[in-house]
C-alpha cells in the first residue's frame, strides 16, 4: 500500500474483503423484477427523449423549439451513455438475457466501438484502477494527474489539454482505445492497430453519418440548424461525461498506486485499492441518474457488475464499513470535486506538485471529520 494510505493489517484487509463479498452476494441474490423494470423504464425515457429531440429539430427554425430539441437530444445521449450504456457494458444486466441490454451486443450512442471500449475500460481501468503505468485512464496518457507521473515541459499545457479533451471527449475515448503508447513501445502490432482502426472507422462513420449528414439532410432547408443542434447535443454530452468521469478518480486525496504496491494483491487488498482510488459525488436523485450513478464511483468500483441503481442503496453501509476499518470514503458535491480536479490539473502542470501544504491531511483523518 502507498505511504499515504491507511495501514491495515493483512487480516483486516481480508476481513474487509469478506464483508464486501458478502454485501455483493446479498444484492446479487436480491436482483429481480424491480431492477429489470427500472432499466427498461430508463430506456423508454431515453428513446422518448431521443425521438422528441430529433422531431423538434424538424421545426428548429423557431428558437425555443431548437433549444428544446437540443435539450432533449442531449439528455437522451447522456442517459444512453451513462445510466444505460456504461452500465450495460459492465454486464450489470446480463442476467436479464435480453440482447437489447446485454454486454456482448450493446452499442452506445458514441463513436467508440463497444468491443474496444470494454477492453480498455472493463479490463484496463477496472482491473488496474489507479496503478500508475497500468491504469491507462490516469490522464488518458495526455494529462498529468498524479505527481508520480514524471514532469516534462509538455505538461505546462495540462489545463489546456484537459479543456480541449472535455470538448471532444467521445473522440478522446475512442482514440484512447487505440493504445498509442503500446504501439510506440512496440507492444501492440500493426495488424492489431489496423483491425482496431477499422472498427473505429466503421462505428464513427455511422455515428457521424447519422448526426451530421442524415438527420440534417432529412430536415431539408433546416440542415445547418439541425447540424448545429446535433453538434451541440454531442458537445453537452461530452462536457458532462468528462466532468463526471474526472471527478471519479482525480480529486485530491484519491490514492494512486505503483505497480510494486499493487503486485500480488489479495482479494481484500483489491477491494481496498478500488475504494482508495475512487471518489463519490453527492447530489439529488436526478443527478445520480444523469451521472449513470458514477456519482457512486466507490460502490461502482467495488461492484462494477451490480446494477447501478443499487449503489445508492448500499452506499451508507459501505461508508459505515469503511468507518469501522478506519478507511477513508471520499465524497463531496460536484463543484467541490470538480474544483479539486481543476486545481490539481493546474498544480501538476508545474514540476513537482506532490501534495504539500494544506494537502497533508491524510485520508483517514478526513473520514473522521466527514
Amino acid at each position: 500500500m502507498p505511504p499515504n494510505a491507511p495501514a491495515l493489517t493483512p487480516e483486516q484487509c481480508e476481513a474487509f474483503g469478506a464483508e464486501m463479498d458478502a454485501l455483493r452476494q446479498r444484492i446479487v441474490s436480491d436482483l429481480g423484477a424491480e431492477d429489470a423494470e427500472y432499466i427498461r423504464q430508463v430506456v423508454r425515457v431515453q428513446r422518448a427523449l431521443e425521438v422528441t429531440g430529433r422531431g423538434l429539430l424538424f421545426a428548429g427554425f423557431l428558437p425555443p423549439v431548437w433549444l428544446g430539441g437540443v435539450a432533449a437530444l442531449s439528455l437522451s445521449k447522456i442517459l444512453d451513455n451513462m445510466e444505460i450504456g456504461h452500465n450495460v457494458l459492465h454486464g450489470q444486466y446480463d442476467w436479464l438475457r435480453d440482447e437489447a441490454l446485454n454486454s456482448q451486443t450493446f452499442e452506445m450512442d458514441i463513436v467508440a466501438p463497444a468491443e474496444l471500449w470494454k477492453r480498455s475500460h472493463n479490463f484496463g481501468h477496472h482491473t488496474y484502477t489507479n496503478i500508475v503505468g497500468k491504469d491507462r485512464d490516469i490522464g488518458y496518457w495526455i494529462l498529468r494527474l498524479t505527481p508520480e507521473q514524471r514532469w516534462s515541459p509538455y505538461y505546462l499545457g495540462n489545463p489546456v489539454y484537459a479543456a480541449l479533451l472535455s470538448v471532444i471527449f467521445q473522440w478522446g475515448v475512442m482514440l484512447h482505445d487505440l493504445e498509442a503508447e503500446r504501439v510506440l513501445s512496440g507492444e501492440k502490432g500493426w495488424d492489431e492497430v489496423s483491425s482496431d482502426a477499422k472498427k473505429m472507422a466503421a462505428k464513427s462513420l455511422r455515428q457521424v453519418g447519422k448526426d451530421y449528414v442524415l438527420f440534417p439532410a432529412l430536415t431539408g432547408p433546416l440542415a445547418p440548424l439541425t447540424f448545429a443542434g446535433n453538434a451541440s447535443a454531442n458537445l453537452i454530452r461530452n462536457l458532462w461525461g468528462f466532468s463526471i468521469i474526472f471527478c471519479g478518480h482525480f480529486p485530491d486525496d484519491v490514492v494512486t498506486f505503483t505497480e510494486e504496491e499493487a503486485a500480488n494483491e489479495s482479494r481484500g487488498q483489491w477491494y481496498v485499492r478500488q475504494l482508495l482510488g475512487s471518489a463519490n459525488i453527492t447530489g439529488s436523485k436526478l443527478f445520480h441518474l444523469l451521472s449513470g450513478n458514477l456519482s457512486h464511483q466507490i460502490e461502482h468500483h467495488l461492484f462494477p457488475d451490480i446494477p447501478a441503481r443499487r449503489y445508492s442503496q448500499i452506499a451508507e453501509e459501505v461508508r459505515d464499513t469503511c468507518r469501522r476499518y478506519g478507511l477513508p470514503y471520499n465524497t463531496g458535491p460536484l463543484h467541490r470535486q470538480l474544483g479539486s480536479v481543476a486545481r490539481k490539473l493546474v498544480r501538476l502542470a508545474l514540476p513537482g506538485g506532490g501534495p504539500g501544504g494544506k494537502h497533508t491531511e491524510t485520508p483517514a483523518t478526513k473520514n473522521q471529520a466527514a
Binding site: 428513446r47 454486464g91 438475457r97 470494454k118 472493463n122 482491473t127
Partner: protein, 357 residues
C-alpha cells in the same frame, strides 16, 4: 427503406424503436402473442400463439426456441410444435409438460395468460416427415414427447394420408402414466374414428384401460411392412429402448429419434469432491471436472480462451454455457439456467457442464 431505417436508428437498430409503438413489431424477430392457454391433460398445458409476419412456417415435427419474460428475466426453452403444418387459423400450438422445478413450465401452468408476448426462433430440427411418404408410418411417443408426432399425425390426417384403409397406414403408439395424462386424448379418439388407416395404441405405465400396458417392449411393436418408417420422441429411457431394439434385431425400417434433455438434477448444497465432465463444445474437447475454474480447466486442456482480469469483473472471458450448473468462486452463487453467459475465470463447474468454447 430498411437501410435508411437502420441508419437513422443506429446504433440500436429499428426494432428498439418499433417496439415502443407495438411490442409485436420487429423487422426480423419472430414475436408471438399468446391467444389461449388451456390445461389439456394432467400435467400439461397447451398454448395457442399468433406469430407476427416474420414467421416463415415449419415442417411437422420441428421445434422452436421459445422465450418468455418472467419477472423481467428472459427464459428460453425448446418446445416442439404440435399443430398441423396447415394450421388453418394461423395459430401455432405448443404443449408443455410441467416439470417439478421448471421455472418456465411452472409459469406457463400457473401464471401465463392470453395477451402476453413471447419471442420465437424460426422452426428448427431435422425430426420431420419426408415429402415422399412411406406406406406405413409408425409414430412412438412418451409423455410430452407427443407434441412433434401429434403435429405429424395432424398433418398426415389433413393430407388425407390415412383417410381410407387402402391409403397409407399410421400406427400411433403412445406411452403415458394413465389415461388422464394423455394430452390430446379426445382428439386422438376422434381422429382414429374418422381415419380407418390410423391405429391407436395407448400404453399406460401406471393405469389400466390402454390397448397395451407397461413400458416399451418389443411385443408392443406392430408388424412393419417393407415400406415403413418410424419416429420416436420421448424421455431418454424410451428412446434408448427403441433404439436398442432396432440395433440388436437389425430392423431395416428407418428410425428417427428425438429425445428430451433431462432437467438438471438436484445439486448438492455445498461443494464436495468435484465430479462430472466438462465439455468444450466448440473445440470438441472433454475433460473430467477437476473443480478448478472453467478457464483453468480449458487452459489445462490445451485451449487458449480470451481473458483479461481473471477475477470476474472485465467480462473478457464471457462464454456461453449451454447446459449444466456452475458456481461462482467468490460468492458461491449457483447458475443453473441453460444457454446463459458466464465468466469462465470465476466459475467452477458443478457436475456435467457444456461450454461453447
Amino acid at each position: 427503406m430498411v437501410p435508411l431505417l437502420e441508419a437513422v436508428t443506429a446504433p440500436h437498430g429499428p426494432d428498439r424503436y418499433l417496439e415502443m409503438l407495438n411490442p409485436m413489431w420487429s423487422l426480423r424477430e419472430v414475436r408471438a402473442k399468446i391467444i389461449d392457454v388451456r390445461q389439456t391433460a394432467r400435467g400439461s398445458v397447451t398454448l395457442a400463439l399468433r406469430p407476427n409476419g416474420n414467421w416463415r412456417g415449419f415442417r411437422a415435427g420441428q421445434h422452436v426456441a421459445f422465450t418468455i419474460e418472467i419477472d423481467g428475466v428472459r427464459r428460453t426453452r425448446c418446445y416442439s410444435l404440435a399443430c398441423s403444418v396447415y394450421c388453418p387459423d394461423g395459430l401455432l400450438e405448443l404443449t408443455v409438460a410441467a416439470e417439478p422445478e421448471g421455472v418456465v413450465s411452472g409459469h406457463l401452468h400457473s401464471d401465463a395468460g392470453p395477451g402476453a408476448m413471447v419471442r420465437l426462433s424460426q422452426a428448427q430440427g431435422g425430426f420431420t416427415l419426408p415429402d415422399d411418404r412411406p406406406e406405413h408410418i409408425l409414430l412412438i411417443s412418451g409423455g410430452s414427447g407427443i407434441t412433434p408426432v401429434m403435429s405429424m399425425l395432424r398433418t398426415l390426417c389433413d393430407d388425407g394420408f390415412c383417410a381410407t384403409d387402402r391409403a397409407g397406414r399410421v400406427t400411433f403408439l403412445h406411452y403415458a402414466r394413465s389415461a388422464d395424462h394423455v394430452a390430446y386424448r379426445d382428439e386422438l379418439a376422434v381422429l382414429a374414428a374418422e381415419h380407418p388407416g390410423l391405429r391407436l395404441l395407448r400404453a399406460y405405465t401406471r393405469g389400466s384401460g390402454g390397448e397395451l400396458a407397461g413400458r416399451f417392449e418389443p411385443t408392443h411393436l406392430p408388424s412393419l411392412g417393407s415400406d415403413a418408417a418410424a419416429w420416436v420422441c420421448g424421455p431418454a429411457g424410451l428412446v434408448d429402448a427403441v433404439r436398442a431394439l432396432w440395433d440388436c434385431t437389425g430392423i431395416s425400417v428407418p428410425l428417427q429419434t428425438e429425445q428430451f434433455t433431462a432437467p438438471a438434477a438436484a445439486l448438492p448444497a455445498d461443494d464436495g469432491e468435484p465430479y462430472g465432465e466438462v465439455r468444450f463444445t466448440h473445440s470438441g474437447r472433454r475433460v473430467a471436472n477437476t473443480g478448478a475454474t472453467l478457464l483453468e480447466q480449458a487452459e489445462t486442456a490445451g485451449m487458449n480462451p480470451q481473458f483479461g482480469c481473471r477475477m470476474g469483473i472485465c467480462l473478457t472471458c464471457t462464454s456461453r454455457k449451454t447446459t449444466g450448473s456452475v458456481r461462482h468462486l467468490h460468492t458461491g452463487e449457483l447458475s443453473t439456467e441453460p444457454d446463459s453467459e458466464i465468466q469462465i475465470c470465476s466459475t467452477v463447474p458443478v457436475g456435467d457442464v457444456a461450454v461453447d468454447l
